[in-house]
């Protein structure tokens, strides 16, 4: 679901960029049913690398980062392949644009995740201060 949402965000960003910089009309930006189906399908397939590489969290940091890199590449291959199959891009510039959006959304997702972790740490540490035993 999150991956489908991220792809949707990517497509919306692409639409906005073409509207702002290429002079396309906002009202001409349309998504047909096949595009919607392709997003859901890509999201479903993309969940496989997530299940394979990111489900087990009780592993050393180094190993997790290696898995994260594999996950990032795995998703990129899937998104590129499905993008080509479903004509999300037809030319090299479209592919480059999709690549940039993909890595930006991927990095943003991790930044938000880390920010949530940091916020949780602060909350937990503050709550622990109130109950900690004196030694």
């Amino acid at each position: 679901m999150m991956i489908s949402f991220a792809i949707l965000v990517g497509i919306v960003i692409e639409g906005l960029c073409f509207t702002l910089f290429a002079g396309d009309s906002l009202y001409e930006f349309k998504m047909d049913w096949l595009q919607m189906v392709s997003i859901v399908l890509t999201g479903a397939v993309c969940s496989l690398p997530t299940i394979i590489w990111l489900t087990d969290t009780d592993i050393p940091k180094k190993k997790f980062i290696i898995r994260m890199v594999l996950h990032c590449i795995g998703l990129y291959v899937i998104v590129s392949l499905f993008g080509w199959l479903f004509k999300w891009y037809t030319q090299a510039d479209g592919f480059i644009f999709m690549t940039v959006i993909y890595f930006a959304v991927y990095a943003f997702t991790w930044c938000v995740t880390l920010w949530f972790h940091k916020r949780d740490d602060n909350k937990i540490n503050k709550a622990l201060d109130d109950i900690r035993d004196e030694e």
């Binding site: 969290t57 592993i59 972790h117 740490d121 937990i124 622990l128 900690r132 035993d133």
Partner: protein
């Protein structure tokens, strides 16, 4: 419910009196928390058996079907299984992974790892791992979930 707090001079004088129409889940939880530290259970070390107060426990670990209790003074073993101790001790004692129970009162601070698991540094500087699956329960026990 109204809460009255009266300052006393020593630990021996500390007591909690609860006046209630019935024992609700919230009251049971409060009793569990208040009694938690005073609870004791049998442990052994070098063939000798001791009664260990829960308040001295840092964490409890299960290794090869044996249960080990870690305190500031050292490690003891006990005949109790993890799930039994989890029920028995309650309060701030909680499962932090499949094979470990942690005493939240002995945690100095926590730091999340990129994978989502949390490294908890205890008051004796040992670091134990809180698995991602138990983070929600930690927050709930601390009243922030």
């Amino acid at each position: 419910m109204q809460v009255h707090i009266e300052k006393v001079d020593s630990k021996d004088q500390e007591q909690a009196v609860i006046k209630a129409v019935e024992i609700t889940d919230e009251i049971s939880g409060a009793i569990e928390l208040l009694e938690g530290d005073a609870k004791g259970f049998a442990v052994s070390k070098d063939g000798k058996t001791y009664i260990l107060k829960a308040s001295n426990v840092y964490y409890i670990e299960s290794v090869d079907k044996k249960t080990f209790v870690y305190t500031k003074q050292g490690c003891y073993d006990t005949k109790y299984r993890l799930y039994e101790l989890e029920v028995m001790l309650g309060g701030y004692f909680m499962r932090c992974s499949k094979s470990m129970i942690i005493n939240l009162k002995k945690v100095r601070n926590v730091k999340s790892q990129i994978s989502g698991r949390i490294d908890a540094t205890l008051l004796n500087d040992e670091v134990v791992v809180i698995s991602r699956g138990y983070v929600k329960e930690v927050k709930r026990r601390l009243g922030i979930g």
